[in-house]
């Protein structure tokens, strides 16, 4: 039995200061003082207790690049970040693009205790953008999120056939990495003031906008649900808002780093701030923050992309794209956007992403009988991230003071992380 006292508890219609009792994998009671024989008691005054965080966008690098991360190290990093469920992107080596590869990936994922790892599958065979992946086999294995993440589906005709097919599989979601490579070319940072000044090849925002516009048009045509991954531009936000106002099933995610940082932080050419989409202009960043508050962007997703220290200790233009994010996501979102609003914080970090991925045991308000997938978060605690549980250390937030810290994570009634408790 675990007893958590004095936290602000996220209940269905209110936030309530109450004692939460966890027995087995379930919340047994809220508000009643139990007999404490042998119970683990956590006093959490001033903290938020809510459903465990859900990340729609994680790269575990397993199989294929396990020097960067593997299922186990990624799971530990996620638990330390307050997550109880994550969606693993399928761009492993080999990619998850068939029934058999999905079955293998789910077997590896289910061997992990720290949290639920949900396997995503590709949209195209081999993630090569040429022909449809093995949707039925993957769907039967349990895959619901499909993405060629790292690339958009390049041909509109192929994407239209993909969406028309996936529309018929209940709960299946087409998730797109919106980047037109014919526009983005070999760019290394946002095409803006900093790239112009330093003469670094730019990644213009329009490379994202044209794919978002195209995909919304195809989603409207086919009726398939569409999810836009790591939205980074003001125009994308406007396009998504328009689609939602038209009643379309279009959802979107934003990363913590796009909420917290903009292109101005790239003046020193730090490879740990290089990713795709790139850190954008200040106006884009402002649009992302207000879209997340408004709910036009449904969810925060980290795009946790580990790269080994030696791989990032190279010239900026030669560094691989991507930054880690699992262990700092909650703190960054609280520090920069939602630290004053517990209900919205848990909606964007847990409730909405769980709904988008179709995860029934996650993202639920705390009521007696709810699954004990929980996170305890102190929104006022100041700390400076330094070294990370992840195998990789490529965080843009290392050395920056953040406000808000995950104290403990509980997955199916068991404590999966408690490193933040004093």
């Amino acid at each position: 039995m675990i007893v958590i006292r004095n936290a602000g508890v996220l209940r269905a219609n209110k936030i309530e200061q109450a004692t939460v009792v966890i027995e087995g994998d379930t919340i047994a009671s809220i508000g009643m003082e139990p007999a404490l024989n042998g119970a683990r008691v956590i006093d959490a005054k001033g903290s938020w207790l809510g459903p465990g965080l859900v990340d729609l966008h994680v790269h575990l690098r397993d199989p294929g690049q396990t020097w960067k991360e593997d299922v186990e190290s990624g799971a530990q990093a996620a638990a330390a970040g307050g997550f109880t469920a994550i969606v693993a992107m399928p761009n492993t080596q080999p990619p998850v693009d068939s029934g058999s590869s999905a079955v293998t990936a789910f077997e590896r994922a289910r061997a992990v205790d720290a949290l639920d790892i949900v396997v995503a599958g590709t949209l195209t065979k081999g993630r090569a953008g040429k022909e449809m992946a093995g949707f039925d086999g993957m769907y039967e294995a349990g895959v619901r999120v499909f993405s060629d993440d790292g690339d958009a589906v390049p041909e509109a005709g192929l994407l239209r056939r993909v969406m028309a097919y996936l529309r018929d599989l209940p709960g299946a979601l087409v998730a797109e990495h919106a980047e037109d490579r014919s526009i983005a070319g070999e760019g290394h940072m946002h095409e803006g003031m900093v790239s112009s000044r330093l003469g670094i090849a730019g990644l213009p925002g329009i490379a994202e906008d044209v794919i978002v516009a195209r995909d919304i048009a195809i989603a409207a045509d086919t009726g398939a649900p569409l999810h836009i991954q790591h939205v980074s531009t003001m125009r994308s936000v406007d396009l998504i808002r328009g689609a939602r106002e038209a009643g379309m099933r279009v959802t979107a995610e934003v990363t913590p780093h796009h909420l917290a940082l903009d292109e101005s932080s790239l003046d020193g050419l730090d490879p740990n701030r290089k990713m795709y989409p790139p850190l954008r202009g200040a106006d884009d960043q402002a649009a992302l923050r207000s879209a997340l508050r408004e709910g036009v962007i449904d969810a925060v997703a980290t795009d946790h992309a580990p790269h080994a220290p030696a791989e990032k200790a190279v010239p900026f233009e030669e560094a691989p794209r991507g930054v880690i994010g699992l262990e700092t996501s909650a703190a960054v979102v609280a520090s920069y956007v939602l630290g004053d609003d517990q209900t919205t914080f848990f909606d964007r970090m847990s409730v909405a992403p769980a709904r988008i991925a179709g995860l029934e045991r996650h993202g639920r308000a705390l009521e007696p009988g709810s699954p004990a997938n929980l996170v305890l978060f102190d929104p006022k605690r100041r700390w400076v991230p330094g070294s990370f549980v992840s195998k990789s250390q490529n965080s843009p937030f290392a050395g920056m003071e953040l406000t808000g810290r995950v104290l403990a994570t509980i997955h199916e009634g068991r404590i999966s992380y408690e490193g933040g408790l004093r």
């Binding site: 095409e191 803006g192 003031m193 900093v194 790239s195 112009s196 000044r197 330093l198 003469g199 670094i200 730019g202 213009p204 050419l269 190279v314 010239p315 900026f316 233009e317 030669e318």
Partner: protein, 302 residues
């Protein structure tokens, strides 16, 4: 002396007017000066990862005139063709014995990284599309010799600015010396953003009557610039410095170009070889400017 890596010249950004003028004064004092033994025993390594003739030769001659020894890395003949990383190359050259690096590289941060890895001062001889600071100093010196001052001089930089590290160096330093810069070219050749806050124009003929210096740039096809404009030769008609355009200039206006020049594209013979042309004066000033920055990097007082 604190960190020796700090005495090189990687960027002119943020350098104040006094410091810039001090460098120009010192370079002027080296014009026509005799060979010295000031840096006897020092080793200057030139590491050019992109092709160069005039810049490398002028650095070598500058080092010789200060009495320093030159070690030249020619990447096409060295281990870099065998897959050695930039970092390993720098560490190796440091271990062999280098007091100063002169580096040209396609990477924007090559010089900062080489300084960090080696602990030696680095002179930027052209980094990516970011800056070419000695070229900027050379051009400032050349203009000061020609006009006697830089204050209020108007320069139109014409051509493939987007790909030009020379233009970016000018944009960082020449306004601090009192000059007014205008960027001129077709939109695909202009930077998409204007962090320098300078005037931008797509019509060369509009600018000619108002400018003291026409600074022409080559189209850098090796950086993909040709894909931004049609291949029908229209560029030369719209932006080439022709004899007709020379006649639109103010009487004292001059023509400059950092080289190499492409005759018949951005510049015609009448402009390149005429009396307004400072192109060979620019080349000649390469040696005193590079003597200055080498000497400063190695702590010589001159």
């Amino acid at each position: 002396m604190s960190d020796p890596a700090h005495n090189g010249l990687i960027s002119l950004r943020g350098m104040g007017r006094d410091r810039l003028e001090g460098l120009l004064d010192r370079a002027q004092s080296y014009v026509g000066s005799p060979v010295t033994e000031q840096l006897f025993g020092a080793t200057v390594t030139t590491a050019f990862f992109e092709p160069s003739t005039r810049t490398r030769l002028s650095f070598e001659r500058a080092a010789h005139r200060l009495g320093a020894h030159i070690m030249d890395l020619s990447p096409d003949l060295s281990s870099t063709t065998k897959g050695e990383s930039f970092k390993d190359t720098i560490l190796t050259l440091t271990a062999i014995g280098t007091d100063l690096f002169v580096i040209r590289h396609w990477l924007a941060d090559a010089c900062e990284l080489a300084a960090r890895w080696s602990g030696r001062p680095v002179i930027n001889a052209g980094a990516g599309r970011r800056e070419h600071p000695t070229q900027t100093l050379i051009d400032a010196l050349t203009l000061r010799q020609e006009f006697g001052h830089l204050d209020g001089l108007r320069m139109a930089i014409v051509g493939d600015i987007s790909n030009s590290r020379v233009a970016r160096g000018h944009l960082e330093a020449l306004p601090a010396l009192g000059m007014e810069l205008t960027l001129v070219g077709p939109t695909p050749f202009l930077p998409n953003y204007n962090p320098w806050g300078v005037k931008v124009s797509t019509d060369l003929d509009d600018e000619l009557g108002d400018t003291d210096v026409v600074y022409l740039l080559r189209i850098q096809s090796e950086r993909g610039a040709s894909a931004g404009i049609p291949a029908d030769g229209g560029y030369a008609r719209r932006y080439g410095m022709s004899e007709e355009r020379l006649s639109m200039l103010k009487p004292a206006a001059v023509i400059m170009h950092p080289g190499p020049i492409n005759r018949g594209v951005e510049i015609d013979d009448a402009a390149a070889d005429g009396e307004r042309s400072l192109i060979l004066a620019q080349v000649a000033n390469g040696v005193p400017v590079r003597m200055t920055v080498i000497s400063e990097a190695l702590g010589g007082s001159g």
